[in-house]
């Protein structure tokens, strides 16, 4: 037996659907107008929960780490000691040169005394689908939009993009679509384009020698290191070579960052 479909009767929008569409439109308009205020409220409630989660994660790692294989731990310990020995000597050299650099600038009348604020990372990629971090300091602590954020010392990873009362959002230099001006080895201007996951890319003329490991700095009076060359692609017959870079720290592993608060 065949019956006639009643689909034709469904063409009118039902009152329920109309009400739903109106509610969605109101929510989107309200979101556009009061997004920051609403996000501020949500983060005020959420930041203690995420802080507790992070502390619990650290505690459980320590607890379960005790069950790891002794041989594996001894091997890891040996490798870490070797890495520490080579890094310590490099760090002494770096600290000496950095102090000398600042001292020379101080003699020329450029003193940089911006306060540095330590912040815990509440959420990081891949927990956040975009190239951003949430940190546990906000406008109450003096953080402002545009402040630079470093993983440690002068290794910068991003800038504050949104500030709430108790939290702030950091947009990483490597976030997709972000562009920044940098100086390759502190000399060659280079436009860096974020590719996500801690990677960036740029192009320089073929005549300029670029090698893996070259640093890229922000154009500034202080040495602000933002990336290191990880690969160079030089296609035959092209006048530009592609340079691929990575930010100094893996954003997926950042637990703490330093916010460099600009002076007024």
């Amino acid at each position: 037996m065949t019956t006639i479909s009643n689909n034709r009767r469904r063409k009118k929008i039902s009152p329920r659907a109309a009400f739903f569409l109106i509610i969605i439109a109101v929510v989107l308009c309200a979101g556009l107008l009061w997004r920051d205020a609403a996000a501020n409220l949500v983060w005020k409630m959420l930041s203690p929960v995420l802080s507790m989660r992070n502390e619990a994660a650290v505690s459980s790692t320590g607890f379960f780490g005790g069950f790891a294989s002794n041989v594996k731990l001894a091997e890891e310990n040996r490798l870490l000691h070797e890495a520490l020995a080579s890094t310590t000597s490099l760090l002494v050299d770096r600290n000496f040169l950095y102090a000398e650099n600042l001292d020379l600038k101080r003699r020329l009348g450029r003193t940089i005394t911006n306060p540095i604020l330590l912040a815990a990372v509440l959420m990081r990629p891949p927990g956040i689908p975009y190239g951003t971090l949430m940190i546990d300091v906000g406008s109450r602590d003096g953080v402002r939009e545009g402040d630079l954020v470093s993983s440690s010392g002068s290794s910068y990873v991003g800038r504050i993009s949104t500030v709430y009362d108790t939290t702030a959002r950091v947009t990483l230099f490597s976030a997709p679509g972000q562009t920044h001006q940098g100086l390759l080895r502190g000399e060659v201007p280079l436009t860096l384009v974020g590719q996500g996951s801690g990677s960036m890319s740029g192009e320089v003329p073929v005549g300029i020698g670029v090698s893996v490991g070259d640093p890229v700095l922000l154009p500034s009076i202080t040495p602000e290191f933002i990336a290191r060359v990880s690969a160079v692609n030089h296609p035959e017959g092209q006048s530009f070579q592609s340079v691929y870079l990575s930010i100094p720290s893996n954003p997926l592993e950042l637990r703490f960052v330093e916010v460099h608060i600009r002076g007024n």
Partner: protein, 96 residues
Amino acid sequence: MERFNLLIIIISIAFIGAGLLFSFWPLVLAGIALLVLYGHTAFGVSAALLFDLIYGEPTGVLAFLYFPFILFALLCVVLRIVALRVILPRGDLGTL
């Protein structure tokens, strides 16, 4: 049916909570999709709005989306409507 709806809501909330606690946003999307596709549209859109506030705006080429989780929830609403009106009635042999 009431029990089934309750089960769907509990599973969705578990997905969303796990996505937040274990820092794995695809679980959040799965929870929202589950809520909306099973007809709990208001809950699903509310959860989407909450996560748009938590995660912020996208960067790069997707920046124009502005509310990507809400748009995803609306896409699920459209999918549900299409499924109910076009795909599912075809399975009913008594109706043309």
